[in-house]
């Protein structure tokens, strides 16, 4: 499905207050000349607006803000009606018309535009000022852009994911390496600096030295199953068992040691309880001795008699003043005394309870130690029931007889078992085993880490293999794209640079394919002996511009396969005449399958494109005037004479145009009729003797029919004689204002009239395509229609025959 642009219409849009329609027929290209600020780029803006998601220009922003204007400036300031852009494009066999209106807020994308938007994978508008940035862009950015245009996000995500897996596993390995390092540091510390990394042979040797000191056999292997280690464990168990029995014996002995008064420890535990109980008894006696009955009786009688004066003592019935209890304070003292005795009793009871609990705790604590020690020795707890009962009996009731016997019996049993054990230094093997176990544990941990690292490395190798495969395929995919784009870029650059004294080799290459962060598409130049240099280091401004233009065109052509349409908006700057000619020819020759919309303020480029494409499917337009009220005024006439007359009418200098107009006519007509100009400088094909060429053309035309007409046409002879191709000063072509010696406006118009007479003489009036003649049967005929040269009839005049 190839899309062609058939028409574009701007209404009240940007620089156009009215409606301006460009009709491209079946898809012709267009070159439009317009000076700066004459409404040329409004057309570029129209395309940009049509394809924008929000219906604005990106540089305007979505809405009005501190640094953005929103879409409002798209509307022409002099217009009053609605503003819109209409486009008609041909897709397959039908024309699709579509209109998009400018709105203050988001303008929805018309459905009819969507196929066009989809076909525009990359923006097809190339603006001159952007080109330098395009060359100077980073390779990484180019790569990202390419990936997006290729719809290759799946592939780049796949590349990123496999790298992430690889990186994370690498991080896991680093953690394992750190752990191993820590283990080795611990190993070094545990071996007193002898072993710094796990080496089973070395560790076995070091352990053998330790074992020798402990009268143990040497090790063959530093493993738990080594006979020396097994022996060490047996000895350590024996040592631990002896120690446990000794502990058990001590615990039994703790309660059974006795004097005449009984078991020392338990009696000591009981002492607190006994004292507490004595205190309770004393407090109880004190309460018994207290005058509680008297106090209660006196109080009862006193308060029972309603007539009793409160001034009389309730104890001795005398006035308070005479009573030994003489006051209320005395009664209160009695009562307080009783209360304190009661409190003392209560306190004594509480302390007695605490002492009982403390005694119980002591007994229970001892019992717990006994249980632990018995368990450590593997002796059933039932064997200690009698002893425990005896201890409780002593504790609770002070009955000591059973305890001594039970303890003695158990102690004897323990002693008998202990006598069967090998004598050893307490803790000797335990300490050694602890040290050995620490080293072997570290060894096992290091071995486990090493094994994991080894397995992970195998996985990492596999992942690297997968990654390389994915990268190779993705890079192949990208490289083929880059290759296609590079080919076209290089062709365009070489074509434009054919007049340059030194032509650099251009490369468009992928770089750092394996480095995700630096992967990119690089532009490089080989300049003389300097290879693979950045373009801005060795290329001139115009060369960089050409390179950027070539790359941009190549990318658009590559990606927008369904939309062979490109807008070029003032894409050449700082170009000399030869480079402009070469650019025009390169654009036409290499983009024959592309519908071009060339906007330029460069007259040479416009003329070169017009001359080079004349007769092809091209349109040529010029903006000759611009006013706010009416907008751009177009001149669709392609004849130079009309353009020159419009310029002269506009008050603009046109001397250069007149000279070039005549030069071009001479060259083209001379080429068509076989007249060859004499080159004044062979290396410069545009610098010729115009007078000689004109004379040659007239001579040749004379031999094919012109002379016959001249014989009867004095005005024709005058016109031919009046032409003096070299009279117009060349310098006027480049001067904005007339200079001394430059022709006046009147002179220019007169000169143009003279030229026009000759042009009209050899113009084919049967077809509109201008002079294109060939010699046929000794007559000059029009190459387009085959008609013989038709010199128009000029009214009889001052006449007379004449010759040139």
């Amino acid at each position: 499905m190839t899309i062609k642009i058939r028409a574009l219409s701007l209404r009240a849009f940007r620089g156009y207050p009215g409606t301006k329609t460009f009709d491209f027929g079946k898809g012709s290209s267009l070159v439009l000349f317009g000076r700066n600020a004459h409404g040329k780029s409004s057309i570029t803006d129209a395309f940009e607006f049509l394809l924008d998601e929000y219906g604005t220009l990106p540089r305007f922003g979505k809405k009005k803000g501190p640094t953005t204007s929103g879409p409002l400036p798209l509307r022409n300031i002099a217009a009053t009606g609605p503003s819109s852009v209409a486009i008609t494009y041909r897709s397959q066999t039908e024309d699709v018309p579509c209109v998009r209106e400018v709105r203050e807020s988001k303008s929805p994308m018309p459905e009819a535009l969507i196929p066009l938007v989809r076909a525009a994978v990359v923006p097809f508008i190339v603006r001159g000022p952007e080109l330098r940035a395009f060359v100077e862009q980073t390779p990484q950015r180019r790569y990202e852009e390419f990936a997006r245009y290729l719809d290759a996000s799946q592939l780049t995500v796949l590349q990123r994911d496999v790298r992430t897996v690889q990186m994370r596993l690498g991080q896991d390995e680093n953690r394992d390496l750190d752990d191993r390092k820590k283990c080795e540091q611990q190993l070094k510390a545990a071996t007193g600096g002898v072993i710094t990394s796990w080496d089973e042979g070395k560790v076995a040797g070091w352990l053998s030295d330790l074992f020798k000191e402990a009268d143990l056999p040497s090790l063959a292997h530093a493993t738990e199953s080594d006979p020396a280690i097994v022996e060490l464990r047996l000895r350590e168990a024996n040592e631990r068992s002896t120690t446990a029995l000794q502990t058990l014996r001590d615990i039994v002995g703790e309660v059974s040691e006795a004097t005449e008064d009984g078991p020392v420890a338990i009696l000591a535990w009981r002492k607190g309880l006994a004292n507490a109980k004595a205190a309770v008894a004393m407090a109880a006696a004190s309460i018994a001795e207290a005058p509680i009955a008297e106090v209660l009786d006196a109080a009862h009688a006193y308060f029972a008699d309603p007539a009793h004066s409160p001034d009389t003592c309730p104890v001795c019935e005398s006035p308070f003043s005479a009573s030994p209890h003489s006051s209320r304070a005395g009664v209160r003292q009695h009562i307080e005394d009783v209360r304190q005795r009661l409190q003392a009793y209560t306190n004594a009871r509480a302390r007695a309870d605490e002492a009982a609990v403390a005694l119980s705790d002591k007994v229970e604590g001892w019992r717990a130690k006994l249980v632990a020690a018995a368990s450590a020795c593997g002796i059933p707890l039932e064997r200690f029931d009698m002893l425990v009962a005896a201890v409780v009996a002593v504790a609770d009731f002070g009955e000591t007889g059973a305890l001594v016997d039970a303890a003695a019996s158990l102690t004897n049993e323990i002693d008998e078992v202990m006598n069967t054990k090998t004598e050893t230094s307490p803790g000797r093997y335990g300490t050694l085993l602890s040290r050995v176990s620490g080293v072997l544990t570290l060894g096992a941990r290091i071995a486990e880490i090493n094994s994991r690292i080894c397995r992970r490395r195998r996985h990492l190798e596999t992942i690297a293999k997968v990654r390389r495969h994915i990268d190779a395929r993705v890079h192949e995919f990208f490289r083929s794209t880059v290759s296609a784009i590079a080919k076209r870029t290089i062709e365009f650059f070489a074509s434009v640079q054919r007049y340059a004294p030194v032509i650099a080799d251009i490369k468009v290459v992928m770089v750092d394919e394996d480095n995700e962060n630096n992967r990119g598409i690089e532009l490089l130049v080989d300049f003389d002996k300097e290879k693979d240099q950045k373009p801005n280091a060795y290329l001139s401004d115009s060369q960089q511009n050409t390179l950027a233009l070539g790359l941009r065109l190549a990318i658009i052509r590559h990606f927008n396969v369904d939309l062979p349409f490109i807008v070029l908006d003032d894409v050449i700057t700082s170009y000399d005449a030869e480079a402009k000619v070469a650019t025009a020819q390169a654009l036409v020759d290499q983009l024959r399958d592309i519908q071009l919309f060339v906007l330029t303020h460069d007259d040479t480029l416009w003329r070169q494109l017009r001359n080079y494409t004349r007769g092809d499917n091209w349109q040529y337009k010029r903006i000759v005037r611009f006013t706010l009220k009416d907008g751009p005024e177009y001149l669709d006439e392609i004849e130079d004479a009309a353009i020159i007359r419009a310029k002269i009418a506009n008050g603009e200098d046109a001397a250069g145009l007149v000279r070039r107009y005549w030069d071009r006519w001479l060259r083209e007509t001379g080429a068509q009729v076989g007249a060859r100009p004499r080159m004044t400088r062979p290396e410069d094909p545009f610098n010729y003797n115009a007078n000689d060429l004109f004379t040659n053309i007239v001579k040749i035309l004379d031999s094919h029919g012109l002379a016959e007409r001249k014989r009867n046409d004095a005005r024709l002879i005058q016109a031919i004689r009046s032409i003096a191709p070299n009279e117009l000063p060349n310098k006027a072509a480049h001067e904005a204002e007339p200079v001394d010696g430059a022709p006046s406006t009147g002179d220019l118009l007169a000169l143009l009239d003279d030229y026009q007479k000759i042009v009209d003489l050899v113009k084919c009036h049967s077809c509109p395509k201008g002079p294109k003649f060939q010699l046929l049967n000794e007559h000059v005929v029009c190459a387009h229609c085959g008609n013989r040269l038709a010199i128009p009839t000029i009214p009889p005049s001052e006449g007379g025959s004449a010759t040139v």
Partner: protein
């Protein structure tokens, strides 16, 4: 300034139909990114019998976000098993 236009340009719907390229071979024909992606899965499975290959092919070519995490989890389980 954007390389190929403005950020808004870049956000316009990408045309997958246009993302085909010439491989440079007259017989290979155009290749699309999706086709490369699809064929890569089978190519990777054919690289080796290593279970890690099967894990990568089974996770990284699937749906959803953070597919690498699923791959890492599976590889972690494989390491623990071994």
């Amino acid at each position: 300034m954007e390389l190929f236009g403005s950020p808004e340009d870049a956000r316009r719907p990408a045309a997958a139909v246009s993302a085909e390229i010439d491989t440079g071979s007259s017989t290979a024909g155009p290749v699309r990114a999706g086709e490369v992606f699809d064929s890569l899965r089978n190519e990777i499975l054919g690289l080796s019998d290593d279970p890690v290959v099967a894990i990568l092919a089974g996770t990284l070519f699937g749906e959803g976000a953070k597919r690498w995490q699923a791959a890492l989890t599976s590889i972690g389980a494989l390491l623990a098993e071994q």
